[in-house]
């Protein structure tokens, strides 16, 4: 117990916030230190999160902020899901911030690093919190820093994308707030566990309306099918390091919030067919639009929509295996998509163009980056022995486990989506390696600070893909935590 009081999960939020407030002060002293601050912060976060993770697998840690008992104060719920995602955020953040040290050279650098640090702090807060209004506040931190970062380069497309994102995102936040107000009006509490205990039947009209408001609000950030108009523009016109975390983390966190609200607060059980169909639609629309793109970052952004659809589909199977598969797919998408955006960032930087055709022959000029990119695409498409295969395989097993005809048809459609995905990714790989070998202009390899994160991500992808048992030990408790509402209430309210 003594050791646990030092490793409090609240440090995962408090220390990065403190560092972010410290950056302007350090900026007065030296400009060079500033760019290493996010690296330090996420290194710290990663270590703390990985140290806490084994403890929470047995029993979740409830952090009482200010020492007030849960329904009266805010509490953090550091369970298996929360800590799994928090460690993922910290590790990805660490790697991407190493990448950004050399990559960000334009604009107000110091401000970029503050915004980046706070974006991931907001994400960590969302996955750890156990209070719906606190969820809203951290969501706003996440959203506002993303709005600013998308417009960071100040290009025309970036500005327009950011404005689109801002308008839709702020309508979403208002909807979330209306939903919170309705819930508070009916139940007089904001604590998730307390709400879950008092909500008996979610089909009652008044509860259902507030649920629809909350899901719509969160769904805009999670980019579920009818609400994802902002995503392709925003993800493709941000700086690549930002696209990596937006695609890899921000939408996953949004999806986590949707799942948490649906499973834990409302204990929804019967309209998952609706979400399943939405998920499959998202997969098909995302992959088909990606197939038609000529711009590499837009293609990756649309591919993210497809992956999100797959994750929604996996969660809405709502069995132990399905939820575990969804979480696994989240992990593999985060690693794979972050890797792809990081590689694409330097490829675009060296060629000076986002068109796929301009990448011809880059496999010879930038061999390591191209190799990493290839491994990333293999993982996203789902080829063995990479993580994407293991996670997709788990989802397919979950879908076929019941032997229901509908599930079989839907998983068939998802596989069609995967085939489309494979087609356009192989098209890129063909362009990279087998076309335009006659071009001889000299392009150098990406710098070391960019190669190290890419190689680490590649090693993660390969290791987890070969030995999925490592992560399975975390996934199983995480899935049962999401599905077991009674245990959640019990551990918070005692």
């Amino acid at each position: 117990m003594n050791e646990m009081s030092i490793l409090d999960p609240v440090l995962l939020i408090a220390i990065p916030l403190g560092l972010a407030f410290l950056i302007p002060l350090l900026g007065l002293v030296s400009k060079k230190i500033v760019r290493w601050i996010p690296v330090v912060g996420f290194l710290f976060n990663g270590i703390v999160a990985l140290l806490i993770l084994p403890h929470v697998l047995k029993q979740p840690i409830i952090v009482k902020i200010g020492g007030f008992v849960p329904p009266f104060g805010i509490n953090l719920y550091a369970g298996s899901v929360g800590m799994l995602l928090a460690s993922l955020i910290a590790i990805t953040g660490f790697l991407v911030s190493i990448y950004a040290v050399k990559y960000i050279t334009k604009g107000a650098e110091q401000k970029y690093h503050i915004l980046f640090l706070l974006l991931l702090t907001g994400a960590t807060g969302v996955v750890l919190t156990g209070d719906i209004f606190n969820l809203f506040v951290f969501f706003e931190i996440l959203c506002i820093s993303s709005y600013a970062l998308v417009a960071y380069l100040g290009t025309r497309s970036g500005l327009e994308a950011s404005i689109k994102y801002l308008i839709q995102g702020s309508i979403g936040s208002s909807f979330l707030l209306i939903g919170i107000g309705l819930l508070y009006g009916q139940f007089g509490t904001l604590n998730m566990a307390d709400l879950a205990r008092q909500i008996v039947d979610y089909t009652e009209p008044s509860v259902f309306v507030s649920m629809v408001f909350m899901i719509t609000g969160l769904g805009i950030e999670a980019a579920i099918f009818p609400l994802n108009a902002w995503l392709p523009d925003a993800h493709s016109s941000a700086p690549s390091s930002v696209s990596a975390v937006l695609s890899g983390i921000a939408i996953e966190v949004g999806l986590y919030a949707v799942i948490r609200v649906l499973f834990t607060i409302f204990a929804v059980s019967n309209f998952f067919i609706f979400f399943m169909v939405l998920g499959v639609l998202t997969v098909l629309i995302g992959e088909m639009s990606a197939f038609a793109q000529k711009n590499i970052k837009r293609m990756l952004a649309y591919s993210s929509i497809g992956q999100i659809g797959l994750i929604v589909f996996a969660f809405s199977i709502s069995t132990q295996l399905g939820v575990a598969g969804g979480l696994f797919q989240m992990v593999s998408h985060t690693l794979g998509k972050a890797l792809l955006f990081l590689c694409a960032g330097y490829m675009i930087f060296r060629t000076g163009s986002m068109e796929i055709s301009s990448l011809e022959g880059i496999g010879k000029k930038m061999p390591i980056t191209a190799l990493c990119f290839t491994i990333g695409t293999f993982s996203i498409v789902g080829l063995p022995p990479f993580t994407g295969f293991a996670s997709k395989f788990m989802i397919i097993r979950a879908a076929l486990a019941n032997g229901e005809l509908l599930l079989q048809i839907l998983i068939g459609l998802v596989l069609v989506g995967t085939i489309i995905e494979g087609a356009y990714f192989f098209k890129i790989i063909q362009t990279i390696y087998f076309k335009g070998a006659h071009k001889t202009d000299n392009r150098e390899e990406a710098p070391v600070t960019a190669l190290i994160p890419m190689l680490i991500l590649v090693s993660f992808i390969i290791v987890i893909g070969m030995f999925p048992n490592i992560i399975d030990k975390v996934l199983q408790p995480a899935a049962s935590e999401l599905l077991d509402q009674v245990k959640y209430i019990g551990s918070v309210l005692g």
């Binding site: 209004f133 506040v137 706003e140 506002i144 709005y147 600013a148 417009a151 100040g154 025309r156 497309s157 500005l159 327009e160 950011s162 404005i163 801002l166 308008i167 702020s170 309508i171 936040s173 208002s174 707030l177 209306i178 919170i180 107000g181 508070y184 009006g185 904001l190």
Partner: protein
């Protein structure tokens, strides 16, 4: 009269919310859209506060010894709205700084025209 009194604050709040959303959906001028957002936020705040109201209540402050605790209105929505107002200001000022940039780049604030002349 009684029914009117029961619903008049809610009606006002949701009236603002609807006008705000409608402005944001229909108008094409970017600053008009942001004005819609600010009206929407005011409406949400008014709604939250009226959720916490208690008939014949007093403000939740023990300013002099004679005040009794049982008549106080709900302090929680007030704390939430305090947070929401500040967040609203933050979003609005960021949005308006983008409006300035937008005008520098495109020379117009009409979102439809901006979409057309992007590429």
């Amino acid at each position: 009269m009684n029914i009117l009194y029961d619903y008049i604050y809610y009606a006002g709040a949701f009236g603002l919310i609807f006008i705000g959303i409608f402005t944001m959906m229909v108008k094409r001028n970017y600053i008009k859209v942001i004005i819609g957002l600010s009206i929407l936020e005011t409406g949400v705040n008014l709604f939250l506060i009226s959720v916490g109201y208690i008939s014949n209540g007093t403000a939740p402050i023990f300013s002099n010894p004679g005040i009794e605790a049982k008549n106080m209105v709900d302090p929680v929505p007030q704390a939430l709205v305090l947070t929401a107002i500040v967040i609203g200001l933050a979003v609005l000022s960021l949005a308006l700084s983008m409006a300035i940039r937008l005008y520098k780049h495109f020379g117009t604030l009409d979102l439809q025209q901006i979409k057309e002349q992007r590429w």
